[in-house]
């Protein structure tokens, strides 16, 4: 038992940094960006957001983000009109490609931003996703 604990098998892998309470608790996109230390991200075509323009349901909105900015170390995802706009931030290292695919929630039609950080600078791509009201379903 003691041995297992010492080997780290009983404890989950520790995250590199504590969860960013301030940024994830921010109620506006700007405050969220400030919380992760980003201001004045430059619009770019090198960050790609692959997502449908119309989501049949806001509970699940699939989004795929790729950064072609050389030296990208992180990607943040922000849904501007969500009650808490910052959805996720991913740090890439040791061979991880700055690419991620995930499903996010959206309360209403909104801009979605992907912000990549590379070499101390930040770059942003934006896409509007329309969230629609559904019928019976399935």
């Amino acid at each position: 038992m003691f041995g297992l604990a010492a080997l780290g098998l009983l404890k989950p892998l520790a995250a590199l940094a504590a969860w960013n309470k301030e940024a994830f608790g921010a109620k506006t996109a700007d405050a969220a960006l400030k919380g992760i230390g980003i201001s004045g991200a430059a619009p770019t075509r090198d960050v790609l957001i692959e997502a449908p323009e119309i989501a049949e349901n806001g509970a699940v909105v699939p989004i795929e983000i790729t950064s072609n900015v050389p030296g990208t170390t992180s990607i943040a995802v922000i849904a501007d009109k969500n009650p808490f706009p910052l959805v996720a931030q991913f740090q890439f290292q040791d061979g991880a490609v700055p690419f991620v695919k995930l499903n996010i929630k959206m309360g209403e039609t909104s801009e979605v931003r992907a912000i990549a950080q590379a070499g101390g600078k930040s770059y942003v791509a934006t896409k509007e996703i329309k969230v629609t009201i559904g019928g019976c379903g399935g």
Partner: protein, 194 residues
């Protein structure tokens, strides 16, 4: 009248046995839940004829049903134009009459489920025709008001086997609510007519 009934009877005879089977199955396999009580499985004449003819009733049967249904429509006195803003909310909502809706609670019109209305709403159904610009074409005069009110109250008065529910006749919507929907369709200020 009797000739009409004979036509319908001959037409329906081969289907009569099957209809009896279905009634017996529904009685055995369904149960009341909440406000959805078992009296709802009993078909009225219209439902019987539309089922038996796959919604293509002989012309004289259709005519007689439509006349019968027309008599059920109660038109309130005065203007039939309510408030289009309330109408838009009713058109968006879909509550009412299901076994998990509270009995007697206000219901909605479920309009966008089947119709396009305000062009701003992207999520609209196509079971019924698009009604965008309806008031622009028909005007908002007394005849148009009566037609729209009557159609919402009892669509079967205009088309015997229409797929549109009889929203007034079934007790789904009140006279005030139907007037709000008439305004949504006809009021020049309504987004439907912008």
């Amino acid at each position: 009248m009797s000739r009409m009934l004979l036509t319908v009877a001959i037409f329906l005879f081969p289907l009569w046995a099957r209809a009896q089977d279905v009634d017996a199955v529904l009685k055995r396999d369904f149960h009341a839940r909440g406000q959805a009580t078992m009296d709802r499985i009993v078909q009225d004449r219209l439902q019987k004829v539309c089922t038996a003819t796959h919604d293509n009733p002989p012309a004289d049967a259709a005519k007689s049903i439509e006349a019968e249904q027309m008599k059920t429509i109660v038109f309130p006195a005065g203007s039939l134009l309510g408030d289009w803003k309330r109408g838009e909310r009713l058109a968006q909502g879909g509550r009412g009459l299901t076994w998990n809706d509270k009995a007697g609670a206000p219901a909605d019109g479920s309009c966008y489920n089947c119709h396009r209305l305000s062009p701003a709403e992207l999520s609209y159904g196509t079971i019924g025709p698009s009604l965008t610009g309806f008031g622009k074409q028909r005007g908002a005069g007394e005849d148009a008001q009566r037609y729209v009110y009557g159609k919402i109250y009892n669509a079967k008065a205009y088309n015997a086997c229409s797929q549109m529910p009889r929203l007034g006749f079934s007790g789904t919507l009140t006279a005030e609510q139907i007037k709000d929907l008439v305004a949504l369709l006809l009021d020049p200020a309504s987004p439907v007519n912008k």
